[in-house]
């Protein structure tokens, strides 16, 4: 009896078991929340509020980051391509890499850093200060009013944040191509090349990625918040864990989604 309790505590306390526990918690939370998805219209106010917090307030940082990523991409590739005499292919490189890879991953990272951390902190505080328990007592499922609106909002805003990031990145690439002296590529050639190589299905692929990443980031953040126990210190570590887990998940999933899409 003693030995079995020892092995049980070992299983529960080591890293591998905590990893599987996290996955399990996330899946359970997803399952419980999906049941409330048909009730989304009843939670419209909360959804709109989350859209505002997640989407609208993230736009400035998304715009700045994507502009410079597009610009640097054009700069780096332009330097090499100008030596090869093929600067017009900057359009194709920036166009495809922004819409298929850079924009979804970058937006998801920003979401994890800016929104995921805030969601975890909020829910962890509610959990630590027993607000979640109070909801349970009132027979209001936390999944219904805390998790579901956030997930729906994530699904709604991610395509839009993704397309904004993509187009601003393209603009950044175009400006660099036009004004940097060793590239000096006319904008219409840049756009023509971009359109020659980038098709709308590429944008769809990027949007699918962004949806998966956004949904996962918010789910991980909510789960991490709701499993927090203890006090303010645990809230902080939960936030850190939420962000790190989200980023690892994004990079890991990105590889497999890209592999599946090609």
């Amino acid at each position: 009896m003693n030995a079995s309790s020892k092995s049980e505590s070992f299983l529960l306390n080591n890293g591998i078991s905590r990893f599987f526990e996290d996955i399990g918690n996330n899946v359970i939370l997803l399952y419980q929340t999906l049941r409330y998805f048909p009730l989304a219209p009843t939670q419209l106010k909360r959804i709109v509020e989350q859209c505002y917090l997640m989407g609208l307030s993230t736009i400035p940082i998304v715009a700045i980051l994507s502009f410079f990523i597009g610009a640097v991409l054009a700069l780096q590739t332009g330097f090499v391509l100008s030596q090869l005499g093929a600067v017009e292919f900057i359009g194709a490189i920036v166009g495809l890499s922004m819409c298929r890879e850079m924009a979804p991953v970058m937006v998801a990272f920003l979401l994890a850093g800016r929104v995921g951390s805030a969601v975890t902190a909020e829910l962890a505080s509610m959990k630590v200060y027993s607000e979640v328990d109070a909801l349970k007592v009132m027979n209001v499922p936390a999944e219904k009013i805390l998790v579901m609106p956030r997930l729906v909002a994530a699904l709604l805003i991610m395509p839009i944040l993704n397309i904004i990031a993509t187009t601003i990145g393209w603009m950044g690439g175009m400006l660099v191509s036009k004004f940097i002296n060793f590239i000096q590529l006319a904008p219409h050639i840049y756009w023509r090349n971009l359109k020659d190589f980038t098709v709308f299905p590429d944008i769809i692929d990027g949007t699918i990625k962004a949806e998966v990443f956004g949904f996962a980031v918010v789910l991980i953040a909510c789960n991490q918040g709701l499993v927090t126990t203890g006090g303010p210190r645990e809230i902080g570590s939960s936030v850190t864990k939420s962000v790190v887990t989200s980023m690892v998940f994004i990079l890991l999933t990105d590889f497999f989604i890209t592999r599946a899409q090609l």
């Binding site: 709109v48 505002y52 395509p159 839009i160 904004i164 098709v199």
Partner: protein
Amino acid sequence: MNKSQSISVGIFFIIGISLLWVVQRQMSDKAVQASEGYEVVARFENLLQLRVGDDIRMAGVRIGSVQYTGLKDRTPTAIFKIDNEFQIPSDSLASIGMAGLLGNNLVSIDMGSSPTPVSPGGEVKTQAGYDINHVVNEIGALSQQVGGALKNFEAILGAQQGEEGMFQTLGRLLKENDKKLTQTVSNLEAITAQLASGEGTLGKLLMEDEIYEELKTISADLQNTLSEGEALLSDTREIVAHVKTGQGTLGGLIYGETDLAVEVEAMIADLREFSAKLNNPDSTIGKLLTDDKLYGEVQGLMRKANQTLDGLGDSAPISAVGAVAKPLF
């Protein structure tokens, strides 16, 4: 949540969705929409790298795009979507070409001259395009040939393991004959300088007009002479013809049976007889000709005569003096 937040979220979604729509339109505008054209079928031997959405160009103008590629009845078939404003002459030929070095393809249509266009749903004639692999293979074979040719050339020109090549031989010859060549060149220079200044026979020939005039006169004289010669020749021909017909003395002599000919024959017979007599040692002239004794006698006679004359010669001055002195005494 206040009202302004809702408005912001509304604007956010509208902008986002319109942006998606604009990008979708921009990305898709290179493909001809289904409602904007008619379909034409093209059957190729090989579709190479042709993909849906590739351009169709006639005389360089984009007239549509590829709508479908695949195998139909075991034949590689492409369906083109052609803009309504363009019509393809029925004798046009479609081929698959390369739009860039990175593997982009396009369908190039060589515009025909037929007044009847390909009808919607009709088939356009095709010809084989250039397969880049084929071209690369050709280049490979060609480079091998060029390599072989260069090798032969090298063998001709360059030294091959101790043997002397053409250049080496030339170099050696030039080195050995350096002085002679220099001398020859300087001679040539001197000759050409003389020629240029009109010196020497050739120089004069080249530079002076007098010689030219003289040559002209000579040639005119020659021409005259030739014409005279021609006249002479024609006269001769006439004479020969005359002779051939047996006319005249000569003609009679050669061809005719005239008295003259008989006389000549008789004369020849006499001459023969005379020579026979000459050859006969018994005859007087024969003896004279053949008998050495007679020759010796004649020689002795001649000697005596000589002596007599010599005697006369020696006494002549004395007799001359005597004759002069006679009146004195």
